[in-house]
C-alpha cells in the first residue's frame, strides 16, 4: 500500500488580554452575568462607530515579533458579512486584505518515541496574524424552541494566527499549540486558557500520496483542549485514509470533534458555501505603525504604536528562558521543558535553589520527581501546593547537611503534604528521623544488631 502523507494546518484564535474590547470601551471579563458587558457599539445600535483599542494593537505587534513575523506598517480593516444571532452587526470586522503581521515562524520541540531525553526541534511557518472581533455566544434551548444570545463576548479582540500546513500529526499540532500558548502567556498578549475559550484551535486536515497534489481538506472544530487536539487530528487523518482506501472520497466540509466518542462528526451545513462579501471597513482608516526610523519628530508618543519600542521591551520567550535555565543551573534541556510547562514551577524551582546550597542538578530531581508527582496525583497546580518553596528548601537543607537520609527526607515530604503547618525540622524531631551523628551510639546499635543475628553473621563472614 502506498504511504500516506498527512497535512495539518492550524487556525488559532487567541483572545487578546485587554481591559476593553477591540473597538469599544466595554469591559472584557470571563463569566460575567449575561449581557452585562455590552456597549452600544457591541449591540450594533445604529449610528455607532468602531474606535480601535491601542492595547490590542500592541498585543498583536508583540505576538508578531515573538513569532518572527514582518509587521506591516500599514494594515487594513475589512467587513466579513454573514447572518447569525451572535453577530449583531451582520458582519465581523477583521483584516482580510492586509493583516498586521505576516511570514513568521514558530519553533517547538517534540520527544522522539516519547523519550523525554530525545527532543527534536521543529518549525512551523506562520502565514499571518490578523486582528478581528470575537462574536457573542448563542445557546440553543431546544426544549423551549428558543435561542439565547449573550453579547458579552461580542467585540472582544482576537488575534487569529494562521499557520502554514507544515504539521503532519496530532503530536506536532499539540506541541506547536502548547508552545504558542506559552509564548502568548509569557508576552501577556493573551491568557490563552483553552478551557475559558481564550485559545481556540481549528485544524485543517488532508492526506495525499507522496508526489501527488494535496488532497481535499476538512476543517475540524470544537476542540477544547490540547490533548483533544492531538486526538482529533489523528482521528481525522485515520478516517480520511480509511475512507480513501475503501474507494470513498473526502468532502470539503466542516467537522466537529466529539470528545466523548473520540471522533469527528460532519457538521453538514444546509447552506453550502458562504460568500462573505468582504468589503473595506469604511469607518476605520488604515492602521499605521511606526518604527524608530519612520516616526515623525513632532508626533505625540501617546498617539502612535512604535514597533521598535515594543521590540525592546519584549520579555524572554520560552525558548530563551529554557536555554538560560540550562546554562544557569546545569540542568538538562528536557528538565527546562517540564519546568516551563507547569505554570509557576520555574519560579518554585528558582526559589528553592536560592534558599539551599544543594546543587540545582540535585534540586531539580526533587522538583520534577517528588513534588510534581504529588501535584499530579492530587490534581493540584503549583500555586495550590501545600508544600511551599521555602518549606521544601528547609527540607533539602536538612538533607544537604546530612541531618537526615534521603529516605527520611521522602518520609518528611509525605508528612508535609498533609499541610498541617509543621516545619520539616518539627516532623523530623517528632518522628525521630534524625541521622545519628554520634559514632559511639552508632557502634552500639550495630553491635546490638550483629549480636542478635549471630548465625547470619557467621554465614556472611564465611562467605
Amino acid at each position: 500500500l502506498a504511504p500516506w502523507v498527512p497535512v495539518v494546518g492550524l487556525e488559532i484564535h487567541a483572545q487578546i488580554s485587554s481591559n476593553s474590547k477591540l473597538f469599544s470601551g466595554s469591559q472584557v471579563q470571563f463569566a460575567a452575568p449575561p449581557n452585562s458587558l455590552v456597549s452600544f457599539f457591541d449591540a450594533s445600535l445604529p449610528g455607532t462607530l468602531p474606535v480601535l483599542n491601542r492595547r490590542c494593537v500592541e498585543a498583536a505587534v508583540m505576538t508578531g515579533l515573538a513569532l518572527n513575523c514582518s509587521i506591516n506598517k500599514k494594515s487594513l480593516f475589512d467587513r466579513k458579512h454573514y447572518f447569525y444571532a451572535d453577530l449583531p452587526a451582520g458582519y465581523q470586522i477583521t483584516q482580510q486584505r492586509v493583516p498586521i503581521a505576516v511570514n513568521g515562524s514558530l519553533s517547538y520541540s517534540l520527544c522522539i518515541d516519547n523519550k523525554l531525553s530525545q527532543m527534536v526541534t521543529k518549525t512551523v511557518r506562520i502565514k499571518q496574524i490578523q486582528l478581528e472581533q470575537d462574536s457573542g455566544k448563542s445557546l440553543h434551548d431546544d426544549t423551549r424552541s428558543q435561542t439565547l444570545v449573550d453579547l458579552n463576548r461580542a467585540g472582544v479582540g482576537l488575534m487569529e494566527v494562521v499557520m502554514e500546513p507544515d504539521l503532519c500529526c496530532g503530536e506536532e499540532a499539540a506541541a506547536a499549540v502548547r508552545e504558542l500558548q506559552l509564548i502568548l502567556q509569557t508576552l501577556g498578549s493573551s491568557q490563552a486558557v483553552m478551557a475559558e475559550g481564550q485559545l481556540r484551535v481549528d485544524a485543517n486536515v488532508s492526506v495525499h500520496h507522496p508526489g501527488e497534489p494535496y488532497g481535499v481538506r476538512t476543517e475540524v472544530k470544537n476542540i477544547n483542549s490540547i490533548r483533544f487536539l492531538a486526538k482529533a487530528v489523528d482521528y481525522e487523518i485515520q478516517r480520511q485514509i480509511e475512507e480513501l482506501e475503501n474507494g470513498g472520497t473526502i468532502l470539503n466540509e466542516t467537522r466537529a470533534f466529539d470528545s466523548k466518542l473520540g471522533c469527528t462528526v460532519s457538521m453538514r451545513d444546509k447552506e453550502g458555501k458562504q460568500d462573505y462579501r468582504f468589503m473595506p471597513e469604511p469607518n476605520l482608516p488604515p492602521l499605521i505603525l511606526y518604527d524608530a526610523k519612520s516616526l515623525p519628530a513632532n508626533m505625540n508618543h501617546q498617539q502612535v504604536v512604535n514597533i521598535d519600542w515594543i521590540h525592546e521591551r519584549l520579555p524572554d520567550l520560552p525558548s530563551v528562558k529554557r536555554a538560560k535555565l540550562v546554562e544557569q543551573y546545569g540542568i538538562l534541556p528536557e528538565h527546562s521543558f517540564t519546568l516551563l510547562n507547569e505554570d509557576g514551577l520555574t519560579e518554585f524551582f528558582e526559589n528553592v535553589v536560592q534558599r539551599t546550597p544543594m546543587k540545582p542538578q540535585k534540586v531539580i530531581g526533587w522538583i520534577l520527581k517528588d513534588l510534581l508527582s504529588y501535584l499530579k496525583q492530587h490534581s493540584l497546580t503549583v500555586k495550590e501546593s501545600p508544600v511551599s518553596s521555602s518549606l521544601l528548601a528547609d527540607l533539602l537543607n536538612l538533607l544537604e547537611k546530612k541531618e537526615i537520609s534521603s529516605t527520611a527526607a521522602k518520609q518528611v515530604l509525605a508528612e508535609l503534604w498533609k499541610g498541617e503547618g509543621k516545619t520539616p525540622l518539627e516532623i523530623v524531631t517528632e518522628k525521630k528521623l534524625e541521622l545519628m551523628q554520634d559514632q559511639k551510639e552508632l557502634e552500639e546499635i550495630c553491635q546490638a544488631v550483629i549480636d542478635g543475628q549471630e548465625n547470619e553473621v557467621i554465614m556472611m563472614v564465611l562467605g
Binding site: F40, A43, L49, V51, L52, A85, D275, F278, M279, P285
Partner: protein
C-alpha cells in the same frame, strides 16, 4: 460668536437684550409647527423637552450667562440622527418606536450650546431618495407650494381642480429639515448629505444648504447610508447662520475615527467687498442633459455677476463627471447592503412575529421593516459584493471614484478657488409628477449635480438665488477646496448679498402674532 451687522435684525441679539425670551421663541415655533402640520415636515415634535430647554436657556439669559450664539435658538434635526429619549425612526417601519439611548455627537453639541431641540424632521426612508416622498410617514410638502409667489404664478388646469394636489416636493432626502427652516418653524436644522441630500432640498426650498468637508464634522450617531460619503448637513436661512452652526459642530471626535485630528477654529465670515483676487471655475460638464433653460440662464447670469465684479471666471473641465452617477450607485448599494445587515429584529427595532427559525424571523423582519427602495439597494449591493463581482463592480467603482476626485484636485491646483454650478436640474416638480418615475430613476437624475462633491469629500453649499417662472426657488451651488469652508462661505455670503433672494410669503406665518414673529421673518438668527 457672530454678532455682527447692526443693520440686520438678529434673534441672538434680541435674546441677549431680553426683547424676546427663549420660551416665547420656542412657543411661537411650536405653534407654527402645529399650523403648518400639512407640510408634514416633522415626524416627532418634542414639545415638553423643548420647552424645558427653553426655560433653562431663559434662566441663563437672565443671569447674563448665555452659552453662546445658539443658546435658546430653536433647531430641528433630521430623523436619522440619534436623539436620546426622543424617537429616531429614519422614516422606516424598521425603527418605528425606536428610542435611542444616546445623542449623536452633533446633537449633543447643539444641546451643550443651549439650542432648543424642537423635534425630528421627515425624510426619505433611511435617507434614500431625492424627493422626501418615500418615508413611511408620507411625503413632505414644499412650503413654497403655499406661498403667494407660487400661487400667483400657478394656473389652475381646471376650476374644480383641488388646489391641494398641485403642491410641489421639497427635494430630498433632508426635505423635512429644509421645509422646517423654510417655513420659519426653526432657525436651523440638521440634515445629512450623501449624494446631495442637503443641497438638493435646500435649493428647492429656498434655503442655504451646506455640505461640509468629509471628516470635519462627526458622524457618530448619524445612522449611516454610505459611511465613506455621508456628512451631517446644515440648513439655515442665511450663510452667516450656517457658519455659526458649523462653528459649533466641527472638530475632531474621538468617537468617529474618520474625523481629522487637526484643531478647528470657528470663524466669522468677513464682508467681502473685493472679489478681484478670486478665480471662479465653471465646469462645463455641469451643463448636464435635462438642465432647464431657466437655470442655465441663471447660472450664466451668476457667472457674469462675478466677472463684472472683477473676479476671474473661467471654464474648467471635470471630465469624469459623467461616470459619477453609476459609480455612486455601485458604492452606495454596496455600503447600504452592509450597513443594513444589522437590522435583524434581535436587539432593537421591528421584529416580525414569524418565529419558526432565526433565518425566517430575519427574512420576515427585513421584508416587513424596509421599503422597496431599501430592499432594492440591499439586493444590488450584495450582488456587487459577491466574490465573483467584487473586482468588476466595487473595486472598479473605487477606481473611478479616485478619478473623479482627481478631477477636482487638478482644477483646484490650476488656480481655481471656487467652482460655481447649478444645484438642481429644475425647480421643484409637483408631487403627482414626481411619483410617476421610481425612486432609483429620480435619484439618478436629481443627484447628478451634487453627487461628485460627495465622491471627492469636498465642501459645497447651495445658495438660494432667484425665483423661477413658476414662483419657486432656484439655487446655485459653490464647491470649495477641502477644509476651506471659510473661503467657500465667504464667497457664498458675497453672492447671497448680491442676489437678494426674496423671503417666502406664507399666510400661516402672517397669521401669527406679527410683532412676535418679526424675529423669524428676518432670515437669520446670528
Amino acid at each position: 460668536a457672530a454678532l455682527t451687522g447692526a443693520l440686520r435684525f438678529q434673534v441672538s441679539a434680541a435674546l441677549k437684550e431680553g426683547r424676546v425670551t427663549p420660551t416665547e421663541l420656542c412657543q411661537k415655533c411650536l405653534s407654527l409647527i402645529k399650523s403648518t402640520k400639512f407640510l408634514n415636515a416633522y415626524i416627532t415634535v418634542a414639545e415638553e423637552t423643548a420647552l424645558k430647554q427653553a426655560e433653562e436657556s431663559e434662566k441663563r439669559y437672565r443671569r447674563g450667562q448665555p452659552l453662546g450664539a445658539l443658546d435658546g435658538i430653536p433647531v430641528a434635526v433630521k430623523d436619522n440622527f440619534n436623539t436620546a429619549g426622543i424617537e429616531t425612526t429614519c422614516a422606516s417601519n424598521m425603527l418605528k418606536g425606536y428610542i435611542s439611548p444616546y445623542n449623536a455627537t452633533v446633537v449633543q453639541k447643539l444641546l451643550d450650546q443651549g439650542a432648543v431641540l424642537l423635534g425630528k424632521t421627515n425624510l426619505d426612508e433611511f435617507a434614500m431618495g431625492s424627493g422626501s416622498t418615500d418615508g413611511v410617514f408620507g411625503p413632505v410638502r414644499n412650503p413654497w407650494s403655499y406661498s403667494r409667489q407660487y400661487k400667483e404664478k400657478s394656473v389652475p388646469k381646471s376650476h374644480s381642480e383641488d388646489k391641494e394636489s398641485n403642491w410641489v416636493i421639497t427635494g430630498g432626502s433632508s426635505g423635512g429639515s429644509a421645509a422646517a427652516v423654510s417655513s420659519f418653524t426653526c432657525f436651523a436644522a440638521l440634515g445629512s448629505d450623501t449624494g446631495g441630500s442637503t443641497r438638493n432640498p435646500a435649493a428647492h426650498c429656498g434655503v442655504v444648504g451646506l455640505k461640509p468637508t468629509y471628516g470635519l464634522i462627526s458622524r457618530h450617531g448619524l445612522i449611516p447610508l454610505v459611511n465613506s460619503m455621508d456628512v451631517p448637513g446644515i440648513l439655515t436661512r442665511c450663510v452667516d447662520d450656517a457658519a455659526v452652526v458649523l462653528g459649533s459642530l466641527a472638530g475632531h471626535d474621538p468617537k468617529d475615527s474618520t474625523t481629522i485630528q487637526d484643531d478647528f477654529k470657528p470663524f466669522e465670515l468677513p464682508d467681502l467687498t473685493d472679489v478681484s483676487k478670486l478665480s471662479i471655475g465653471i465646469p462645463k460638464e455641469y451643463h448636464a442633459p435635462g438642465l432647464s433653460s431657466e437655470i442655465l440662464a441663471l447660472w450664466s447670469k451668476a457667472a457674469d455677476l462675478f466677472k463684472n465684479a472683477g473676479a476671474k471666471v473661467i471654464e474648467v473641465s471635470l471630465p469624469h463627471t459623467c461616470y459619477s452617477i453609476v459609480c455612486y450607485h455601485v458604492l452606495c448599494a454596496a455600503e447600504v447592503a452592509s450597513n443594513m445587515a444589522r437590522f435583524d429584529g434581535l436587539e432593537y427595532g421591528h421584529r416580525s412575529g414569524m418565529n419558526k427559525s432565526t433565518e425566517s424571523m430575519y427574512a420576515a423582519t427585513r421584508r416587513e421593516g424596509f421599503n422597496d427602495v431599501v430592499r432594492g439597494r440591499i439586493l444590488s449591493g450584495n450582488y456587487f459584493l459577491l466574490k465573483q463581482n467584487y473586482d468588476n463592480y466595487f473595486v472598479k467603482a473605487q477606481k473611478v471614484r479616485r478619478l473623479i476626485a482627481n478631477d477636482f484636485v487638478k482644477v483646484f491646483r490650476s488656480g481655481v478657488d471656487i467652482l460655481l454650478t447649478p444645484t438642481t436640474l429644475s425647480d421643484a416638480v409637483p408631487y403627482m409628477e414626481f411619483i410617476k418615475e421610481d425612486n432609483r430613476t429620480r435619484s439618478a437624475q436629481d443627484d447628478i449635480l451634487t453627487q461628485a462633491a460627495n465622491m471627492a469629500g469636498l465642501p459645497a453649499v447651495n445658495v438660494p438665488t432667484a425665483l423661477s417662472e413658476r414662483g419657486l426657488p432656484v439655487g446655485l451651488q459653490f464647491i470649495g477646496r477641502s477644509f476651506q469652508e471659510k473661503q467657500l462661505l465667504t464667497v457664498a455670503k458675497w453672492f447671497e448679498k448680491q442676489v437678494k433672494f426674496p423671503m417666502i410669503q406664507l399666510e400661516e406665518v402672517k397669521r401669527h402674532d406679527h410683532r412676535g414673529f418679526q424675529h423669524q421673518k428676518s432670515a437669520s438668527f446670528s
